[in-house]
Symmetry: D2
Subunit: 341 residues, 4 copies
């Protein structure tokens, strides 16, 4: 399987790109047309020999044809040079001059817990709500989430506080259910290589947050994104949430280097999750600020009104008041790197 | 959630154990009755306070009541002292005096490829066939398996060569399909923490091979087995297949220490997969022999008649003739540690 | 071996602390007197029983006596609450309102290379020069450094550009030689657990930069610092330079979480080395900014006038012009977290 | 730096090899002459262009000239095809038909402790004694070894029980002292990349045991061996003792795959240390047997008469009686792979 990017000239005629697409289909290749502000680019995926035997640069309106050498194709920066910006009910994820905060409880536990948290994080400057109804837990004896009831509460909170929300989906059989409520679907760290789930969310029309497997290389992570993109869903948000290393002083090791690496390799937005990476409340602020400074497009933070009684991951949840302080500091560092919250 | 093991005296009356079980049900706890050769043991899982408030040792026929402190309960050696032995169509997996070889192609590619391999591995001494119809691949552009057609070929090979077979299942929606053909279901390394898949195979009646996630701790692995056991399927086979480390000279690092550690912590059989661990043909023999010497119950080995043209993992597949040599060496080392092949 | 901190009251008499110290010596314990602005603190290390049998809080002027439970004692934040600030020829390392840049070539190669680099980094805002004369190399066939000639060049550069310099020492037999030239000695990542070298630099009077072993836990790192402190050298600077993980897209994985963790555990200053962590030029700026935002006291950056011809680690060296841009960005992010460069 | 192996024909004249060596010296290259049973091989190390410009295969008696592409040269299997066998006072380390047991206390604590252990391990079949007088300890407050007194006791035990012994050296300044007593010097895991220490032991005439750094790749380990070999000491024994991974159930993860990998890459003998790898008594036997089965030349095992009172690593020490049982099992597995103890 091979990929080629065919870049059209700024002054190409309207039919030129179409002719390229038809030519690709004639040789049984996939053609992905992307019309940018200044020029049109066509991504071609198919049999190497078939693609290469055609003299693309001799076709009318074609400026150049460049092979994509990475194992991932569509999500590669070679394929699409400009950043993907995803509109989540009016919140732009991936805009280089904007910084977005996603916040809320790790798991939805009750109406009261969710609403108190949502109100607080909205007030402090978060623009997307997080909260899960299905939780993947290491032990079968741990709280597994409220299920559909949790989704209903999230949908109510969305109306009440005017915030879109993101929620995890664990099972391909639940994708339609979660999508019927949530604004963004999340594939969690343990499911990053659950390829049938990736394909299923790839067939939906809502954006997908794809967490890095805590043991996945960046290349594997981008290949996982490719599974989603290839099925037709191009709105993918990558979330770095820490990797597993020998160090046990923090829950995981936030791979801050992943931020610039992903920026170079892919056009997709990238979010840092300091809560799950560090696993301890006192690490959230420095890790969040490091994420902003390193170039992330957003942070995603666990907040809980009473962390000590949280059913999931209470040790890492910020109090609403801590979150407000964090947002003040985030705004300063974001400004220093040219972004407004 | 808490667990208690209630051990009956050898001379307990038949109704004594029953009385314990009824008492447990009366306080809303799960009771798991295990009748061994010499005595009966009851596993109790439920609310800690409720379990502990009853003076179990004062009940007739009870010898002692011991709490299980591990996060995994049913799969723990504390819960069941004797080894679990699983009968796979007459092949005993887990018997301390027997050693089992599972072999076959990584992926089923064609009738010819499968049958040539099955014939050879049977002749060399393998007693269970492996071969996958659904393959989880890092890249969406790699061969994904033949699907149901592959399962049909495996079922034909079973009849032809009188070998039960094991095959991977990736999607909870495919569990029934795979179970309708295979003798043992496999949950692969990438799905070890796919909890909805674990629950689904836990509801089936065929044994399940559970591969260790290449990034999972032994405790997480046993917790994953607990998900299966808890749903009612007690025939679980653990497969050590290498973990991800900083070393890149081999595909993964076979964690040979996992063999004695799992033996100490759990009563479930353990298999070593030297093919996927090493990722290179020349490593398969020494790693397989190390597995035998360290106390594994079985090995699972990739064999392919023409590895150079294999669609998946050809670099690690043994030729049939290599496999025959391996089996001769395995028999010698197995004999040295008191097992016959 | 046990440790106790004895905190004196603000209104204690001058002789009170002295009496505590004498009492400690009388029971064969080490006493470490630290006179702060507001109160005096005494660190006691010795046999647990002997220390604990004395009713310290009943002695005149003593406010409280607190045991140190960590395996490292003197370098622990329990032992000394206020930050250690180290004066490197007028440059304060560890002051919470200042941020320091250390920069220069990885290895000294020639007078011209060193002087061009030193001039450029000084102009851009660096206040300490780095440059090594002894290089630990994986292969015995790689360039091993200029030896004493390199130290002489560094000393000349110090005079020319009025910058103190830090240089690595590899061998306990070279410690005196390196100390006779350098302002700060460095123990490199491969020698973090070279305990005889640690003891030797612990007996010197110049500050020591202690790089974290790329495979060392934070606790092991602080234990290594304890080896130095215990010998009498209290001016220790910790350098986080990336740890070894399974990810191969960057040379190492910068453990940004180590910055807040070390801040919590120890009073010693902490530096981030984005050059050796990332191993690639394009990663230096985002990693450096992440270090500033996470709360580091300084960065240490490789700069080379012609990276393509560098004898060591050219791929990660910034050009002088890149370094000037980095410093502009560092100043902005440092200001956002309350520090001036 | 480049390397070339020049293989002489079996029927070459005596002066032919000499002529090659002279030619190499004339172009400032190192020549390493190795006279095997059937043919002579010359290793050439030096400037690539100079080596390559000479038409070696046209010289009289030369069969072929093969470049060594690995970063390590002399220790590479390309350089020397036949196994290196090291004679340790009559004990052959590296002979394919022999298996050697090295055993003794981790640290020498007293005459009584050492002699009781030495007597027991000798009786059980060990042929080399281990015991350290200098211990590298994570904390400066832990027991650091008896120093020269420990070496004296080891030398007495050698006479008493007729066993050569191996002892660790930590500091280049102690190399001569340790060599004056010990039969084999050991460089420990924390010093594997202490290049000045490697060079110093490389200048001695006693064999060197080189433990793999618990965080070192196999390539780095062989490069470390190259440092020793290059200085002139060719009697190097490699010891695999476990690597650091995310798994915390064992102290380290024994990299059993390293055994066949090293066998393929190098001609040096390889030893497995199951005691330091597993860190727990109950893991020593299965790991030792795995090492034998995977093809190691020897095992090195900690034994202590009273592990509960051991000053170092008591949790992993076998009792003398356990060791005798281990040796019986080792003999069986060794026989299964064609070796006698």
């Amino acid at each position: 399987m091979s990929a080629m990017i065919i870049v059209m000239r700024p002054d190409a005629e309207p039919g030129d790109a179409e002719a390229v697409v038809e030519r690709l289909r004639a040789i049984d290749c996939e053609a992905h047309l992307s019309e940018g502000r200044f020029r049109t680019v066509i991504g071609a995926i198919g049999d190497r020999e078939r693609i290469q035997q055609i003299p693309w640069e001799a076709m009318p309106g074609v400026e150049k044809a460049v092979p994509v050498l990475k194992p991932f194709k569509f999500v590669s920066r070679d394929f699409q040079e400009e950043d993907t910006v995803i509109d989540v009910r009016g919140v732009p994820l991936g805009r280089p001059d904007r910084f977005v905060a996603i916040a809320g409880p790790c798991a939805v536990e009750s109406r009261d817990q969710l609403f108190r948290t949502a109100e607080a994080v909205k007030k402090a400057g978060a623009s997307i709500l997080r909260g899960d109804a299905f939780k993947p837990r290491t032990s079968p004896y741990s709280f597994q989430g409220l299920g559909e009831e949790g989704l209903q509460l999230l949908a109510e909170a969305r109306e009440e506080f005017d915030m879109p929300f993101v929620a995890e989906v664990l099972d391909p059989r639940d994708v339609e259910l979660v999508e019927s409520y949530a604004d963004v679907l999340r594939v969690g760290t343990r499911n990053m290589a659950n390829f049938t789930l990736l394909q299923e969310v790839g067939r939906q029309s809502k954006p997908v947050q794809l967490k890095r497997g805590f043991t996945a290389t960046i290349e594997e992570w981008l290949n996982a994104a490719e599974y989603i993109y290839k099925e037709g869903n191009h709105e993918i948000v990558l979330v770095e949430r820490g990797i597993r290393t020998f160090e046990t002083a923090s829950r995981n090791t936030l791979d801050i280097t992943a931020v610039p690496l992903v920026r170079g390799l892919s056009h997709l937005p990238i979010v840092v999750d300091p809560s799950h990476a560090g696993g301890k409340r006192e690490l959230v602020v420095p890790l969040a600020l490091a994420g902003v400074a390193a170039g992330a497009d957003a942070i995603m933070v666990d907040v809980h009104p009473t962390p000590d009684t949280a059913l999931v991951d209470g040790a890492q949840a910020l109090l609403p008041s801590d979150f407000a302080e964090l947002m003040a500091a985030v705004a300063e560092v974001a400004a220093a790197v040219g972004r407004s919250v």
